[in-house]
Symmetry: D2
Subunit: 371 residues, 4 copies
């Protein structure tokens, strides 16, 4: 089995998730390739060395360009704030490296398309980190929809609401800045929701959005008041190309929601409900069940769901958040070693960015926008 050597840029929240997943991968999946995180880059030598120690990674780079240039690196994994994605991805692609980029792909759709353009003619694997799509339960749901079990899809309602900025004393950070983050909650969490909707229901034809900055100012690190530059919450109505109607929500000020990606899909033959806070469950209503025996059924993840059995053969012995990244890394290994498709590549990510941009524009102009 071949080693695939990864250079990880960023060692914060999601960077650590990457490091864990690379280490865990092969003991779970046994192949088809072995990811080895050979280097980590962070902002300056001191932080990089600390990251390497904390995450048990061999080499540390204080400058990400050095990591990109390292000939021992096959894949550049980008786990940094959004504003850095474009430059890093372009550099990695130029250096002939596969790219594994955390969502959202870029600050906006034009930036995203620059990255897509750079990939043209290159035989490189490119994958986004939309980890929620890798849930075995979502895999089973996708198969269920594709097989027509729910009939024709007529309605989708989804939200990705959390409360990590609900407290007004949470300081102004990079996520509040247009230059560093682009959009607010819609790029951060709405993008997860959009990826899920596209995955399960298909392309979006039109959108009408609404956004709001609920907490207009926050204190920065120096205690100075700063105007928050992007949205705290957003709503949207959509029409899918397949004909279904949809509702999207995203919020970072939704008191009580912690991992609040949840959605409902109604089809002509049945419905489902999913909540990431109970990620090992799927609620399924089968309209064709006998009279008196119809009701939402709570399925627990088991070996009938793709990618579950390698973790544990026992049904209901659920996965955790970090396991989704392990599955995602397995997708990357399969893409590199076997040419398999990935859940979200840069082109699909551009489609997500288009929807984010249209959501924001339609909110500004108070009108529907066709995609």
């Amino acid at each position: 089995m071949k080693d695939i050597r990864i250079g990880l840029i960023g060692s914060g929240y999601i960077g650590k998730t990457h490091a864990i997943a690379y280490r865990t991968h092969t003991s779970v999946f046994g192949g088809p390739a072995n990811p080895v995180c050979v280097a980590v880059a962070d902002d300056g030598d001191a932080r990089a060395v600390d990251a390497a120690r904390r995450l048990d990674i061999g080499k540390a780079y204080g400058d990400w360009r050095a990591l990109v240039a390292d000939p021992e690196v096959d894949v550049v994994a980008i786990a940094t704030p959004n504003s850095l994605h474009r430059e890093m991805a372009l550099a990695a692609i130029a250096a002939g490296k596969h790219v594994y980029i955390e969502k959202p792909l870029a600050l906006d759709a034009p930036e995203a398309r620059e990255i897509a353009a750079a990939l043209k003619g290159k035989n490189l694997v490119h994958m986004l980190g939309y980890n929620y799509l890798c849930n075995p339960m979502i895999g089973m749901l996708k198969a269920m929809i594709d097989a027509g079990e729910l009939g024709e899809i007529v309605h989708f309602r989804g939200r990705h609401n959390e409360d990590y900025m609900a407290d007004p004393s949470v300081p102004f950070g990079w996520r509040c800045s247009l230059v560093l983050s682009g959009s607010g909650t819609i790029g951060d969490m709405g993008s997860h929701l959009i990826s899920m909707a596209l995955h399960l229901v298909g392309p979006v034809a039109a959108i009408a959005g609404d956004i709001q900055t609920v907490i207009p100012t926050r204190k920065d690190a120096n205690g100075a008041s700063r105007a928050v530059e992007n949205e705290d919450q957003g709503h949207a109505m959509v029409r899918f190309k397949g004909g279904a109607m949809g509702v999207f929500e995203s919020s970072r000020v939704a008191q009580g929601k912690k991992q609040g990606l949840a959605f409902e899909i109604v089809g002509t033959k049945g419905s489902i409900e999913f909540d990431q806070e109970r990620m090992n469950e799927l609620r399924l209503y089968e309209a064709g069940a006998p009279v008196g025996r119809r009701g939402f059924k709570t399925l627990l993840v088991d070996g009938s769901c793709p990618d579950f059995a390698p973790f544990c053969p026992a049904p209901g012995h659920g996965l955790g958040y970090n396991d989704l990244k392990v599955i995602e890394v397995n997708r990357l290994m399969k893409a590199i070693a076997e040419g398999a498709p990935v859940p979200v590549d840069v082109h699909k990510a551009c489609e997500i960015e288009d929807i984010i941009d249209a959501w924001l524009l339609s909110a500004e102009e108070r009108r529907w926008i066709d995609l």
Copy 2:
């Protein structure tokens, strides 16, 4: 204690609920007045006599106009299809009777305002049958919001989705007809949702809606195919005058939902979730709880909720759907006997009709409409 004599027009689904509530009222509440259903009217003598027998009511009228004219009738209760409301209400008001009208008030806002105009200068009680507002748990929630426990309300998401027409073999009935029903699901169930949103969050400033007829044709009673004339499902985004953003949904084709009025309210200090299918519960998140002790708390109805104790002194010994009507009838008794305000009077009902009309118009014209 005084008897209040009621004449009931209509003996179908909701008519029977009325009859039960009139009978039950005084053994529960003990006052302040005693509703006595003295007469029932239905379409033709045979049906009226049958209704009187089934519901144990003294007099039967095959013509509702005779019931309105009966001097023994103090209150005319209108529990008929929507298209008949206007004429019946106007006749009752002209005859100097109090009116108790099932929702929605009329086919559209102009009709509703005709009824409101007729009431001018008359000292009559007028109340709509928006029974879900009478839930003691909703009463407690309203008090909670008014006391500022949730802080400033920033988000409302509600739906009233059912599946009673999800099966394409459900025949074309009066609810599918523009002339008999006006709107489809939005007037039928969306009106409940709107009444709840107004009650809890306050007036709506603007709306952008979307609607769809999912099952475009149905067979009528003769087996002939008929085009369904109004919407099976509708989505809307709203802005409340108080500043909150909202999302509304209504559907009659939502597989699996049976009494599917549910909503979530997010405030700056907490959130709540409610589902009418578990009408004796309220989920409450208090952001001010200590770290590590924050979570959605499931409150069960008890004596701290208004109107609960008269049914049962024991906490958690929940109410049923029909009990809501008993409470509503008590509101009517208090209005007539004591001049107390009612949950939804004709003027408030006009506001609901305005929102329904704007929802439909905004969907047609694909734009926001200010109210």
Copy 3:
């Protein structure tokens, strides 16, 4: 349709539930007979008159013996503390009246058998008030079990736990007294659980119990400390005659439980879970469902459940606690008017008392007792 004239002894908690049910019955069920509560008796004239006024009942008796003697009374309903049941029931039977007795039947099995003996040779209807058995969802479950849908029953676990005496400052009341109440929580709530187990799983062959008085002393009305004379909580293991194993629990000090009758039944073909706090739901696991589609399904009450449709034709429009008594009254009407069987008659109630006594004795003697 014939009136059945009821004399109600007791106007407290459950007495009021009776009064409401008598009033409501016929508007819901339309027959086969009409219960009319013609008289109420309470302790002394003042309380009786007040009860008659509060509950809207025609005649008031300060002495229950006068009510029993009233020739206008067809049925004597006994809704008083347990220690009075025996004497009242014997008097009513002697007077040739049908009896409708709140659970538990008596202070112990010997008393219960005295009542049973008095009925010998009399053509009287006798019914106990085990209202939870009247839930339409329980009716459906019973049919499901009888039809073999769950296979052979192998396990039952049930509890009826509430917290109404969990606070040590709740005063010493009649329920704490051996003379007035007999057992503590086991007679009060355990009896409900036993009635359910017998109804659904069949007779009990043997029991081993354990009991405890968690709060050993309470203040009485005069502020004097009194030793609590019966159990606050009890556990038991049972073997059913059909072969299943069972676990019973009852508590009046179980913090957080309000209407805490809940149970689980495991069969060889499936399982169910029920919780009275969500009385309109039944969770059903069907082992025969296809792989990947197995899970607990939440059924909502609907017209396929016996006795539901007369309340409301709409599925999921749930019943409340008081509605169970309305159904129970309908059983009484059917028994008197049509000779139909009742859910729990005095003979079945004796079987329940036997189990209560054996539970207590086995706890005292720390051994299994065969029934």
Copy 4:
């Protein structure tokens, strides 16, 4: 940071969980030592080599004695059927190796005490694999109880019920054999429940049990019918030394339960409910909450729970089954590197075995047994 070298015996279900946990550990916890699985032993060379390949482990031993003798092995991890534990543990201890043994410790208490005796005078770390105790939510609950938040504990009800042998066509395997497995479900899953009860409520003073073999015969691998030699389900009542009453259940034929360890604890100041199928949640009832604001609160795991933050700083981003083993391995590292105590050592495991034996004996003799 020091490497701790582990030799793993057994590569089946739980053996793989070990292998994953060793690999994952240091990227999550960063220390205090680094577990390296240097060798795996399985039954015969072919299986051992395959296991080493599948789990990405360096050395393969077809004979576990060779692994125990390997001087590069610091810790012997025993993940084999129960009947082998005693001999392997004794050999490892004799060789001066730390031991990490999957539950249950042995076939019965006498065997367990042999292992305990062998440890006398040896300065070796010994830890059992009771992974459910390592759940951060359980850690928080333990702290909550120790701090007196629930008051005095008065009631515990727990079950570990699964359905992996509910289907009669599941073949006779080692778990059905007295010689290979000892008890049936009680040693397999009941031991988890007992470990939890001891951890949270303290020692058990007395037990009365009941057991049953629901499916008396199964086909073995050759299609021959074999009598199942141990119990499919068991019930027990217990008294804890602290005074609380308890109920235990264990089943391997409970249709619908997949990871069915669940329990409820009632204290004088509050109650909790936990279900391993929703292992990132704890339901908490605080009796001291204000009137009208009392209810079960669903806490989601977050940084206030011990051991959670190293996996993910974001609240509610739940852990999975395999993560519990990673935490357990961290306990082992802390024990070896820092002398920290372990959740369950061999002495505590002997206490668990005593209870298992007493449960079985009390069932056989139909009486209470004092411990």
